[in-house]
Every structure is written in structure tokens, then in C-alpha cells.
């Protein structure tokens, strides 16, 4: 135990730097995934059929390819086509895109739960499609989707570890480097596991807070 504490003291500064990158990656990819998720849902409900096909195709393709392969594609293949992205940006785009299809699914469920009468009320008040989405459908759909979005958020936090494969110095990569150089696999991976777990706990609290704030009575 004393050995572990000594290791912790030695490794934590580096690992915490990695955790910071992990959190930055999570926040950026989460924002992108939600924004893109909204796009897929809006396109998926468009009147113009090709928009719906586009949305469906993106969701099917992205969902069917492993995240790690998507990241490799963005980081290693796009440069061949002249698009050379820095690792962090490539990670945000890859994870954001991969997770956007799950967010789209979450949002679709939430939007499906919006009372039809409220949409009619917006129509009757003369709202155009854009105003209706902005003022009624999205705010209410997001509230309904919040629990599943929270769940997806925790999954995303953990899956940022995949970005270690494209040289982003996040928690898992910093840990791997430590483990390789010190051979203290047990201490390092135990610390990494604890840090991911610790980081995931406030997310649950955050979702509960948002749910309480968004309560409708």
C-alpha cells in the first residue's frame, strides 16, 4: 500500500495533466456531437426527402465503423488528401462525429416524446419551422433526452481513451508512457482507472442538476 501511495505521488502530476486533456477532449467532442446530432435529427425530419436520406446514410455509416478506424482515417488518411489536422482537432472531430449518431438517437427519442399539442400550439401561433424548432421542439426534446444524453456523456468520457492511439497526450496515453518507462503497470493502470471513475461521477450529478433545473412545474 505504501508503495502504491509513493507511486501515486510520483505519477499523479503527469496523469492529472493527461486527465485535463481528457476532459478538454470530452467537452469539445460532446459539444460537437450534440450540434451534429441536432443536424442529423433536423435533416431526418425534413420534408425534402434527400435530406432524410443523407441523415439516414450518415447515421448508418458512422454507426457501423469502429471509432478507432474513424480516428485513423481522419488522422492518417486525410493528410494524403491534403487535409493535415493536428491530433487534438482530429480527435475532437472523430469522436464528435462518431458520437453524433448516438446523440441523434437520444434526441430523436426526446423529440418524439414532445406533446404533439405543443407543436400545434406553435403552429397556431404562426411560428415558422425554424422558430418552432428553436423555441418549442428542441428545448422540450432536450429535456426529455437528458437522461440518455447523460449516459452517452459518460461513455464518451471513457472512449476518449481511444484518442491515445493518435498521439493525443490524454490520460490513457500518459499512463501508457509511464507504464512503459517504469514497468509499474499495476499502480499506473489502477490510478488511471480511479481517475476515469472520479471524472465520471460529477457527470451524473451534473445531469441530475440539469434535470432539476429543467423541471416543468
Amino acid at each position: 500500500m505504501n508503495a502504491f501511495l509513493a507511486d501515486a505521488q510520483a505519477f499523479l502530476p503527469v496523469l492529472l495533466m493527461g486527465l485535463l486533456v481528457t476532459l478538454e477532449l470530452t467537452v469539445c467532442a460532446l459539444s460537437l456531437s450534440l450540434a451534429l446530432g441536432v443536424v442529423w435529427v433536423v435533416l431526418g425530419r425534413a420534408r425534402f426527402a434527400p435530406w432524410r436520406w443523407l441523415s439516414q446514410t450518415v447515421i448508418t455509416v458512422v454507426r457501423g465503423i469502429p471509432i478507432i478506424v474513424q480516428l485513423f482515417f481522419i488522422y492518417f488518411v486525410l493528410p494524403d488528401w491534403g487535409l493535415d489536422l493536428p491530433p487534438f482537432l482530429a480527435g475532437v472531430i472523430g469522436l464528435g462525429l462518431a458520437y453524433s449518431v448516438y446523440q441523434a438517437e437520444n434526441l430523436r427519442g426526446g423529440i418524439g416524446a414532445v406533446d404533439r399539442g405543443l407543436i400545434e400550439a406553435g403552429d397556431a401561433l404562426g411560428m415558422n419551422r425554424f422558430t418552432l424548432w428553436r423555441r418549442v421542439i428542441l428545448p422540450l426534446g432536450l429535456r426529455h433526452a437528458l437522461p440518455s444524453i447523460g449516459n452517452t456523456m459518460v461513455m464518451l468520457l471513457k472512449d476518449t481513451s481511444i484518442a491515445s492511439t493518435i498521439t493525443i497526450a490524454e490520460l490513457t496515453r500518459e499512463g501508457q508512457l509511464l507504464a512503459i518507462s517504469t514497468f509499474k503497470n499495476g499502480s499506473v493502470y489502477a490510478l488511471i482507472a480511479l481517475l476515469y471513475l472520479t471524472a465520471s461521477l460529477p457527470l451524473g450529478a451534473l445531469v441530475r442538476l440539469l434535470e432539476r433545473k429543467g423541471r416543468l412545474a
Binding site: G117, L118, E120, L125
Partner: protein
């Protein structure tokens, strides 16, 4: 003000409206009565385009109800719903200013002042900052009426405004509607409140199986119906009441 000529509407195989002719004059209060499934709510919903009618013509103040005229029509007629349909994530005041500010671009301060006046009129000013979920049905429906009035409509469509209310809450909503009628608002009301119709309506139209089976002065239709089916319906409803 509102005219329907030969309006039909089908839902799949089922013909709901089979040629409706109806006219509501400016300042008139017209009550639509009839059994459930007779098509009376569908008539309202076709007027402001919540349902698209199949054949026939609907005009509101000279504007034809079609894809091109819909926005203009929705500016002129407001709607009050059976289940209130207040936006649950916005306060009472926000519900009332929603359309003026976010649809018609009215200045928020001005809209707010006007909304507070309207809320005072329906006796809900004290609840301006409550969420709808905290209010009784009668209170919500009065807010629904204030929200409709905030559009400065030329006519208001009421779709069974008291049907979802507890019996002791019906009176407060009918009182507000009576005041509107006295002020000369054009109102088209789908209702089961025969007493209210007799007292407030200028005319009553009885809807049966997708057509207007009988219409005329309220007292006339409700007291001495010409059609046997009107008489049957009234007997059934009044017996229940």
C-alpha cells in the same frame, strides 16, 4: 369574416367532413355543437390550417386558407385548445409574449406590458411568473385565452375549451369567454356547454356526420330544432347535464 364552402376532409378512408358550408360574421359568436366524431373540431382545425382540407374553399377575412395564405390567416385567427397546450417550459408571462416577440418581432418590454394587461383581464396577473404545470386547468385555460388575445386576433377559435376541466373550474373560463363576446370578439366555439351556447351564442350550428345538419339563431336551434337528429342530440346532452 370566416367562410367555408363545400369543405371536405378525409383521414385515409374515413370522410370526416363531407361538404361543410358555414359563415361567421365579424363580431359574431357561433357555437358548433354535435356528438364526438361528428367533425366539429376538424372544422376549426381546417380554418387555421392545422389540418389541410381536401376540397372546397376556406376564407378568413378575404385571405384564402392554403399554403400561401396560412401565415396571414394565423395572424388573424387565434386558437384556444381543449388541453390548453401552454408551453410547459415557459412561465405564464413568457407563454403570452411568445408569439408577439418571437413570431411578430414586437419589442419585449412593450409585449410584456401588454401581456400583463391581458393577464389581468383573465384574472391571472398574480401568476405571471408561475410555470403552467403549477396551475389548475381553469387557470391554464385562462392563460391560453390571454395567449390567444396577445396575437390581437380578429377571431378566436375555441376547441372544446372547457372539456378537460374539473366541473367547478368551467365557470371561470366561460366567464372570460362571455366577456370577450360582449366586447364584440368574433368567436367560433366547439362546445358541449349547451347552456353557455344558449346564453352567449348569436348562432348555433349542429354538426352531424361531417355536415352542418342545422344552423340558426341560438335560441331557435336549441329550443325548437327543426331536424330530428338535432333534437335527439340535445335530448341526450341535456339529460346528461
Amino acid at each position: 369574416m370566416i367562410t367555408l364552402a363545400g369543405v371536405t376532409k378525409r383521414f385515409g378512408e374515413r370522410a370526416v367532413l363531407k361538404g361543410v358550408d358555414l359563415a361567421v360574421a365579424r363580431g359574431e359568436v357561433l357555437c358548433l355543437i354535435g356528438g364526438s366524431g361528428s367533425g366539429k373540431s376538424t372544422i376549426l382545425r381546417c380554418i387555421n390550417g392545422l389540418e389541410r382540407h381536401d376540397e372546397g374553399e376556406i376564407h378568413v377575412g378575404g385571405t384564402r386558407v392554403d399554403a400561401a395564405g396560412l401565415q396571414a390567416v394565423r395572424r388573424r385567427v387565434a386558437m384556444v385548445f381543449q388541453r390548453f397546450n401552454l408551453f410547459p417550459h415557459r412561465t405564464v408571462l413568457e407563454n403570452v409574449i411568445e408569439a408577439p416577440v418571437h413570431v411578430h418581432g414586437e419589442a419585449p418590454a412593450e409585449a410584456r406590458a401588454r401581456a400583463l394587461d391581458l393577464l389581468a383581464r383573465v384574472d391571472m396577473a398574480d401568476h405571471a411568473h408561475s410555470l403552467p404545470g403549477a396551475l389548475s386547468g381553469g387557470q391554464q385555460q385562462r392563460v391560453g385565452i390571454a395567449r390567444a388575445l396577445a396575437l390581437r386576433p380578429e377571431a378566436i377559435l375555441f376547441d372544446e375549451p372547457t372539456s378537460a376541466l374539473d366541473p367547478e373550474r368551467v365557470g371561470e373560463v366561460l366567464r372570460v369567454m362571455r366577456e370577450l363576446a360582449e366586447e364584440g370578439m368574433t368567436m367560433l366555439i366547439v362546445t358541449h356547454e349547451i347552456g353557455f351556447a344558449r346564453e352567449v351564442a348569436d348562432r348555433v350550428a349542429f354538426v352531424d356526420q361531417g355536415v352542418i345538419a342545422e344552423q340558426g339563431a341560438a335560441a331557435e336551434v336549441l329550443t325548437h330544432p327543426r331536424e330530428a337528429r338535432t333534437a335527439q342530440f340535445l335530448a341526450r346532452v341535456l339529460q346528461k347535464g
